[in-house]
């Protein structure tokens, strides 16, 4: 699915449906990816919106050097980093909100990941370091290859390979604790 590029072109030509299609196709995945930064699904949802607002207001040029999805996730990452830089001293979450977060996250997982095994895997990933979560999420759930992940995360391929290795080791150890085996590891 790389219709994002053509939808975006249509949007730039003045067709608002273009951006609506992009939001429909990419919003859920983007939220789960951004959740790797924020550890808060509601904040991730806000950042997802911010990402699309940035797209609509600034209308950045898409060069097709990477796939549209890779490009979009890179913008999302920049938005998340801006957010963390600005709010690093003020992240506070109440207990009630935590409960809502958990239920909303579960709902999104059901809708986007669908398979029980993947949901289990995603939940285990949430216990890992932010960078491990991001690299594993992009690889397991978005089917990005190492080159695409390197582009999104602004790292070299070799760094991604190292990171992926360490992330998988860490995930495996977490899964072992649960007595859960994932064949992708």
């Amino acid at each position: 699915m790389d219709n994002g590029a053509s939808s975006y072109r249509r949007f730039l030509d003045g067709d608002e449906n273009g951006i609506v299609e992009i939001i429909r196709d990419y919003k859920d995945g983007l939220i789960l990816y951004l959740n790797g930064f924020t550890q808060n699904i509601h904040t991730a949802e806000d950042l997802m919106e911010d990402t699309f607002v940035r797209l609509v207001v600034k209308k950045p040029k898409f060069s097709a050097r990477h796939s549209f999805k890779t490009w979009l996730y890179t913008i999302g990452r920049n938005v998340a980093i801006d957010y963390l830089r600005h709010s690093a001293r003020t992240i506070l979450t109440s207990v009630e909100e935590l409960q809502n977060i958990e239920s909303d996250e579960a709902g999104l997982e059901q809708a986007y990941l669908r398979e029980e095994q993947k949901i289990m895997l995603h939940r285990t990933m949430n216990r890992l370091k932010s960078e491990y979560q991001q690299v594993l999420y992009l690889s397991f759930f978005e089917d990005f290859d190492n080159g695409q992940i390197a582009a999104v995360m602004k790292k070299s391929r070799r760094q991604i390979e190292n990171l992926m290795y360490r992330a998988k080791m860490s995930l495996k150890s977490e899964l072992d604790k649960e007595g859960f085996i994932y064949e992708g590891l």
Partner: protein, 385 residues
């Protein structure tokens, strides 16, 4: 969780608001620019008026001396300044000033200041500015950062700031001048000699020396390996230097390699490797910036995360000299801008998102020379002449 239609609706609504906000900001900038221009013109007119007053007083005094008068009623002439031609023009009067109102010795009523003041008459009319197209950068109303209104500096009372003439904005003239030196901000042309790291994270010096990062077995830090032109290799372990991604990696000349690694969104590590000594220095902070000759490295030491309370951020150099310290809670954002010799630093301070200002600091005296609010001079360099 919203469904995609709700999200799309919200995104489009917010985007429209954002666009509206931008338009408003541009209009405000236009009004501020016009006000600043009017204020400068008024100041110039008053200055010229005082000069005329003095010279006419002087002439009157000479006359009185010649007549042997001891009267000090020369002050009468001062009241004539209230009727200066420039004032009339600023108030929007189109008629030329009566020569009767002019100070002695100026029968034509024509002066550069009055010309300037009348030239700014249009700019002072805010109604007309609101009707202008805010996206039209050629309307002279100041949509670009270069024509943002000037707010006088506050921290340099000992050495009062001479503001650049308002026409400088249009001419791309100095943003600050003390009579001897002038500071210009220009779009950056000769920036940092960044080289894109290749797939192997290897970079080459102009003469072909190769530098690359290699893993160190059993450790999570890396080593810098340099291969000289004759194939000789040098290796330097970056002991206990950890970063998650490489932001910059390049040679400075033939003797130094620098690399910047990302640690977290608020902190990078910067390594300067010296080939001859096969050693490195490490700095922790943000916005690492060299002066034009790559002699001095300046950077920002950000406030610690999750500190006990609001803390200050600092601008330092590689010798840990602190040049500027923000008020607790204020943040240094975006970038540092340096002139070629590293004598002046331009920087942005943000108290909150609505209060952002740009300042220029003299590195020698550590004084703020210039301050301007609500601006964005990203991608600029300072030129001192």
């Amino acid at each position: 969780m919203k469904d995609y239609r709700e999200v799309a609706e919200s995104v489009l609504r917010r985007s429209r608001k954002e666009a509206e906000k931008r338009r408003k900001r541009e209009r405000q900038l236009a009004v501020w620019t016009a006000s600043a221009a009017a204020a400068l013109a008024l100041a110039a007119v008053i200055g010229v008026g005082v000069m005329y007053g003095k010279s006419s007083r002087g002439a009157a005094d000479h006359e009185r001396e010649a007549q042997g008068s001891s009267s000090l009623s020369g002050n009468d002439n001062l009241s004539g300044n209230n009727d200066l031609p420039g004032n009339d023009n600023l108030l929007g009067n189109d008629h030329l000033p009566d020569s009767d109102n002019l100070p002695d010795g100026d029968p034509s009523g024509h002066s550069p200041a009055s010309d300037k003041a009348s030239g700014n008459r249009d700019a002072a009319g805010s109604e007309e500015i609101f009707e202008r197209d805010p996206s039209d950068s050629t309307n002279g109303a100041g949509n670009t950062a270069d024509s943002v209104s000037v707010t006088p500096g506050t921290a340099n009372e000992k050495n009062p700031i001479t503001k650049a003439p308002d026409t400088a904005k249009e001419d791309d003239g100095p943003i600050w001048s003390d009579g001897e030196k002038s500071i210009y901000l220009r779009k950056k042309t000769n920036g940092y000699p960044a080289q894109e790291p290749g797939p192997d994270s290897a970079v080459f010096s102009p003469s072909g020396k190769k530098a690359e990062l290699i893993p160190v077995e059993g450790w999570s830090f890396q080593a810098l390996k340099v291969t000289l032109e004759d194939g000789t290799e040098k290796e330097c372990k970056l002991t206990d230097v950890f970063f998650s991604s490489l932001n910059d990696f390049c040679w400075i000349g033939e003797e130094r390699v620098v690399l910047e690694g990302h640690r977290n969104p608020s902190l990078n590590v910067y390594i300067v490797y010296h080939l001859e000594q096969n050693s490195f220095e490490e700095y922790y902070g943000l916005f690492f910036t060299w002066d034009g000759n790559y002699d001095k490295l300046y950077y920002v030491q950000p406030a610690p995360h999750f500190g006990a309370g609001p803390a200050s951020e600092k601008i330092a150099d590689q010798e840990e000299t602190i040049y500027y310290k923000t008020e607790p809670g204020e943040r240094l954002v975006d970038t540092l801008i340096l002139d070629e010799k590293g004598e002046y630093i331009g920087f942005f301070v943000e108290a909150d998102e609505a209060k952002r200002s740009f300042a220029i600091l003299n590195c020698e005296t550590m004084e703020i020379l210039y301050e301007e609010r609500n601006v964005n001079y990203n991608d600029a360099e300072i030129i001192v002449e």
